[in-house]
């Protein structure tokens, strides 16, 4: 262990270290309760995230490996990390008002957000199954607690408990797969594993079993059918900003791992997982789109919508290649913007005493709050994939990648379900614009919320109007990551 290599490793993990330090500082500061403390801690968290983002940006795209090949900073990692910063920063901004309204303005919240962020970052950068697992657990543990953060709210508790049980269950599956891979290849480091698997026989039953376990674990985390059952309950029960976080940051990190594992280092296993993922993707889109049709709780509906989007993302994975990856990456960027934007709106509308989040909260919104309704309209259209919003280009790029690899049938199925899913977004638009009953509550938009809405709106519109620069970033990252 010579010193320079250690220093390089430490430098590479600089963003993670910054975030962890930030989390510790926030945690410590949260112990001295003061009026206005929430704002201070949120600000501090944002500063830390910004610092980490700056560090990540300077580390750039050139693949550099540290910690004896267990940790890597490459194009994909940097891109995804920036996405994670974005998602977390927006969540921090959304949270302030929500926590105030729920009377749970505890500083630990921000520390947990940062811990979750750090876990997600480690997942993104890990090139060793163990590291990935540790990152995943760090993220998951923080999110478990965040889901149950409203300690006096039975719904929140229940969701948290369900999430812990199912999350641990899926971790168990993942781990079992990991242990079998370790047994079969003698290593957990991905590059070495790839070498070992290069010569392996894909028909080996043990290998198939190991892949299956790993795959099921990953599909669980991604929320793909038939391992999606946990998602709606937990989305509904969790505090809304946390739901937003889970649906964006959680998804980003999970897909980063899926990309790295399935498309890069374990690509030798493609014959084993390909068909399963095809089925899972189709089912995911089907169940997500169809089940969302009958939901009357907006968060539940968004959970199913998120499942459906997950199916689309799996298609990007199936397309593979640099375009397939770039399409997933771009999709996740757009998804972060539009989904978090919508969650910001939900949090805004959610501040009343009635916390059932029925979709009727939206009725007549256009009459009383035309601006907010318009913004919501754009997010919804983007989620439905209607041009010229970002959501269209996201889906479009996935379709391009699919057709490029000749998987036209999948593309056709995808667009059909996409049309189905437009239905439930339209339903909310209908409520906002065509419902005669006026929206009762006066919605106050705090400055932090304005920032969130502005950023997400601009992001959604820009990724639709001028997608070139975002696409180029994703493609450059995907290509650099391939090297």
């Amino acid at each position: 262990m010579d010193l320079t290599r250690i220093m390089v490793s430490v430098l590479l993990s600089g963003p993670e270290i910054i975030v962890i330090l930030g989390a510790c500082v926030v945690l410590m500061l949260s112990l001295v309760p003061r009026p206005g403390q929430g704002g201070l801690l949120a600000g501090l968290s944002l500063v830390m995230i910004a610092l980490a983002a700056g560090m990540s940006a300077t580390l750039g795209h050139t693949p550099q490996s540290g910690y004896q090949g267990m940790f890597v900073v490459d194009g994909i990692a940097t891109y995804f990390k920036l996405l994670l910063y974005l998602g977390t920063a927006l969540t921090v901004l959304i949270s302030g008002g929500y926590l105030g309204a729920e009377n749970t303005d505890k500083g630990e919240y921000y520390a947990l957000l940062l811990f979750a962020l750090c876990g997600a970052m480690i997942m993104v950068s890990g090139t060793d199954l163990l590291i990935i697992y540790i990152g995943l657990e760090l993220q998951a543990l923080a999110i478990y607690v965040l889901v149950g953060f409203l300690t006096t709210n039975a719904r929140s508790n229940e969701a948290a408990l369900k999430y812990v049980i199912l999350g641990a269950f899926s971790s168990g599956l993942l781990l079992f797969g990991l242990s079998m891979f370790y047994g079969l290849t003698g290593t957990t480091q991905l590059s070495a594993m790839a070498l070992a698997l290069g010569t392996a026989d894909a028909g080996d039953p043990l290998l198939v079993l190991a892949t299956l376990f790993l795959l099921v674990g990953l599909l669980f985390k991604v929320g793909a059918v038939p391992f999606h059952m946990w998602l709606p309950d937990i989305y509904e029960g969790a505090p809304s900003p946390v739901t937003g976080l889970m649906s964006t940051v959680g998804k980003v990190a999970a897909f980063a791992v899926v990309l790295r594992l399935l498309l890069h280092d374990l690509s030798a296993l493609t014959p084993i997982w390909h068909d399963i993922v095809v089925i899972a993707a189709v089912l995911t889109m089907a169940v997500g789109s169809l089940a969302a049709l009958v939901q009357t709780n907006i968060k539940r509906m968004l959970a199913y919508s998120s499942i459906a989007h997950g199916g689309f993302l799996l298609l990007g994975l199936l397309a593979g290649g640099s375009d397939g990856q770039a399409s997933v990456m771009f999709y996740l960027l757009v998804f972060t913007f539009m989904n978090l934007g919508l969650f910001a709106v939900i949090v805004l509308l959610n501040q009343g005493a009635d916390r059932g989040e029925p979709i009727w909260d939206f009725s007549g919104l256009a009459k009383t709050h035309p601006g907010l309704a318009l913004i919501t309209l754009i997010f919804l259209l983007s989620l439905a994939g209607i041009p010229p919003t970002g959501g269209f280009f996201a889906k479009f790029y996935v379709l391009v990648a699919l057709v490029e690899t000749g998987q036209v049938a999948l593309a056709v199925i995808a667009v059909l379900f996409s049309a189905v899913s437009a239905w439930f977004y339209l339903r909310i638009i209908m409520l906002m614009y065509m419902d005669e009953t006026a929206h009762p509550a006066q919605v106050l938009v705090a400055p932090a919320m304005r920032v969130v809405l502005a950023v997400t709106l601009i992001g959604t519109v820009l990724t639709g109007g001028l997608p070139a620069m975002f696409l180029d970033a994703a493609q450059a990252a995907a290509r650099a990551g391939l090297g």
Partner: protein
Amino acid sequence: MGFPVLSLLILLPAAAALVVPFLRSTQAARWVALIVLLADFLLAVWVLISFDASTAAMQFGEHYAWVPSLGISYRLGVDGISVWFVLLTTLLGWICVLASWTSITTRVAEFMTCLLAMQSLMVGVFCALDMILFYILWEAMLVPMYLMIGIWGGANRVYAAFKFFLYTLAGSLLFLIGILLLYFNAGQTFDMLALMEARYPVNLQIWVFLAFLVAFAVKVPMVPLHTWLPDAHVQAPTAGSIILAGVLLKMGAYGFLRFSLPMLPDAAHYFAPLMIALSAVAIVYGGFLALVQRDIKKLIAYSSVSHMGFITLGLFTFDTMGLSGAVIQMFNHGITTGALFLCVGLIYERTHSREIASYGGLIKAVPLFGILFAGFLLASMAVPGLNGFIGELLVLAAAFGVSSWAGAAGVLGALTGAAYLLGVYRQMLLGPTAAPGDAILWDLNQRELICALPLLMFVVWFGLYPKPFLNILQPSLDHLMIQTTLSVVTP
């Protein structure tokens, strides 16, 4: 590249659409929309005047890179065919504003925004020379239209809006897959002209044709996929109906003409019998359904189905006559049906009834309105001397050249058309004066006349002297013929 006049055409209403929602006064919103759309119309007229009728090439071309990594660009241009649709769109645009001047009283600024956005998108669709640009504009159009129907429509508006949106969306998504298939077979470009030049294997053509077919057939609408149309037409506000009938339906036919025929000639020929059969069914079925309608808007809607059948029939005869007939019919149907919906809207504003039987003797009661309405009804009937005649005649002639059954269906459709339109004519305009309830009828005011007269002018002009129209059209049609026939190669 010259002055980016097409971009101006598109962006002028778009820019206004961004401004109008922030206007405090409803009157200001109306005036801004009117002035902008009128300016847009004048711009379109200028484009038409300075159009070079001697060539089939795209004119006023513009080209900027947009998403270079995917080969998507912002590429505009008009030829002899599309320039007319640009004119039609812009003409109907400001008429719509005038038509909704008093009938829309709630959320006026938002309504005007929708109108402006529609205009921008529709002009864009006719000018786009990049497939993805075309697709984006085509899809984006759904949203303002959806809102127009859903917010300002009739009693059953929400259902109609949903139906409209989902039908069209589902259709056009397959269109997107088709585009992608072409994209990868033509060397990764979305340039329409390049895609027309490229040759595709027949097998692929057939699949892509089917994908396109769904999208365009919904929009046209062709028979099995037409059910959204009556709902949408009936529930939409007047302006919405005008735009739907006048422009949106044409887009389906425009799609056949721009993509299916020149890009996929083999598949088009392969499917021609099917298309002709469907068209024939549409003509007859639409006509018969129109016969039994008691709601005037529904009647016009079904007559549209029937008339659009003539257009698709003409397109798939692969005959110069049929093709030009179809294009002429497209334009004229846009004018005539738009005008009919306008008339219905005007009378509805007075009586709030669409029941045909509740009217009578309007020509005596409100003579100006009666004359206009009569004129449009006759034009729709394809009476010689008015604009509907020439197109229908050409299509029928071409149809008999292909199949006597199709021709016979066409004739039957035309006769049915005459029957139900004359029925309306007799019931509503002649006979003893009657109005639903105790509605007070008053004749057209200045604003309403300004709406209707230009349309009447076009009706008469094209009926009597279609030469300038045909002159501009001819080179592009010839080029299209070459593309559709010469490319029939055996793979």
